[in-house]
């Protein structure tokens, strides 16, 4: 594949000759990881800054919500099925992993459909799937709920902590304390939502947005497209990741989200409460809403002492600027969620930045 490496080289050279001072933000944990792993950040000239935004669903989940999930897992006869990323996320007093070691039935699944199988095999128990993720994941949960309903599985429910990305991006653009000149938009969220939400943001805030793929070449091309727009004074929404992302997104997926979920206000770590940024189950599906079914109260927000995940998630500081980073907080002994999740900014920095750069 020498053509690709030559093209990659050309893109990098074009980016390295750029003189303007520019801050670009990515808002996808998979981009955070890909950028850290590829070393792109270290290859860019000092005038081009890459910031990490609120792109990791586990990291942006509020402390109160994590505590509520842990509280639920403690209830007798509940089997909590979750994506693996959530296991080690620290709540105020415990984590799902700790609860499991204390006897709670917490299981890891790759797909929500696996949780349906658990429900079919354990009809004497209540099986709850922890629905967490952005628009990429929400359609899978929506279809799983429909499937459960059509099978009449009354012991299956979902604890929905789903969030949608555009309202958070709007908050980033409108915050005068966050300096972002362009957005590297999340490739797989955009597979579902398409380009339109970014067009609205790009025009309203006069900042370019480029939906970008995850190979090193994709990311370099995305950065190049953003720099080109900034240079020309443009503010368009473009798709770099054209082999997968369609302009209108995936209509079937969008319809299934629409059918099962309704927008509600949600609390984000670091960003606070954002209207219409969360997804709750519609009235027709309320019987499968674990929060209602098990009467889980809203929990108070208990901030983690010294943890700067909130500032990291909004690009206000880089992970090494946090006092705990690499000292009290490491992947083996994480204090905040950005160090726990494989794709959290702190974990990505810790894993791939040379020790001297870690501060």
């Amino acid at each position: 594949m020498s053509e690709i490496s030559d093209y990659r080289q050309q893109l990098l050279q074009a980016i390295q000759t750029e003189k303007a001072t520019v801050s670009l933000m990515e808002v996808c944990g998979t981009h955070t990881m890909a950028i850290a792993k590829s070393g792109i950040r270290e290859l860019l000239p000092p005038n081009i800054k890459l910031l990490s935004g609120p792109g990791c669903p586990v990291c942006v989940t509020s402390q109160g919500d994590i505590d509520a999930v842990i509280e639920m897992a403690r209830q007798k006869d509940i089997v909590l099925v979750t994506f693996g990323d959530m296991m080690r996320v620290p709540g105020t007093y415990s984590s799902l992993q700790e609860e499991r070691s204390q006897g709670a039935d917490v299981r890891i699944a790759y797909s929500p459909l696996d949780a349906l199988r658990v429900a079919r095999e354990n009809t004497d128990k209540e099986v709850v799937f922890l629905g967490i993720g952005f628009e990429t994941t929400a359609p899978a949960i929506a279809i799983t709920l429909e499937q459960a309903r059509s099978e009449g599985l009354s012991n299956f429910s979902v604890f929905s902590l789903h969030k949608v990305v555009p309202p958070a991006l709007e908050l980033i653009f409108s915050d005068p304390n966050i300096n972002v000149d362009g957005l590297i938009c999340p490739g797989h969220v955009s597979v579902v939502i398409g380009v339109e939400p970014y067009e609205i943001l790009a025009h309203k805030y006069k900042k370019p947005c480029v939906i970008t793929g995850f190979e090193t070449m994709d990311i370099l091309e995305g950065i190049f497209m953003l720099l080109k727009q900034i240079k020309q004074g443009d503010a368009q929404a473009e798709i770099q990741y054209r082999r997968v992302v369609k302009r209108e997104g995936n209509l079937v997926a969008r319809q299934s989200i629409e059918k099962v979920f309704k927008p509600v206000e949600a609390r984000w770590r670091g960003l606070g409460v954002i209207p219409d940024s969360g997804l709750a189950l519609r009235e027709e599906y309320e019987s499968m809403d674990a929060r209602l079914k098990f009467n889980i109260p809203d929990m108070e927000e208990m901030p983690i002492k010294g943890c700067a995940c909130g500032e990291v998630l909004t690009g206000k500081i880089n992970p090494p600027d946090c006092l705990l980073f690499g000292r009290a907080c490491t992947p083996l002994n994480p204090v905040g969620p950005c160090m726990v999740s494989h794709e959290g900014s702190c974990a990505a920095y810790y894993r791939y930045t040379p020790a001297k750069g870690r501060g």
Binding site: E3, D6, G29, T30, P57, T136, V244, V252, E343
Partner: protein, 73 residues
């Protein structure tokens, strides 16, 4: 979290289930979100669901564009 893996569809089965090949490993996924998918097409898989059909012609087009770019260098 939003990790997606490309997979090749090798068999379409009942109830919108497809058998796919991911780097030589075979697994079953749901194709409910990509009802028009055909055998031998590549899909992007996330959490056990095909999220979108990967457009091979655009992938190839990009390769051709790269070749042209190099010729005129």
């Amino acid at each position: 979290m939003c990790l997606g893996v490309p997979a090749k569809v090798i068999e379409l089965m009942a109830n919108d289930v497809a058998r796919v090949d991911v780097n030589g490993n075979q697994t079953e996924i749901s194709v409910r979100l990509t009802p028009e998918v055909k055998i031998n097409e590549y899909v992007l898989v996330h959490a056990g669901f095909a999220m979108e059909i990967i457009d091979e012609s655009i992938a190839l087009e990009t390769m051709q564009y790269l070749e042209e770019l190099l010729q005129y260098e």
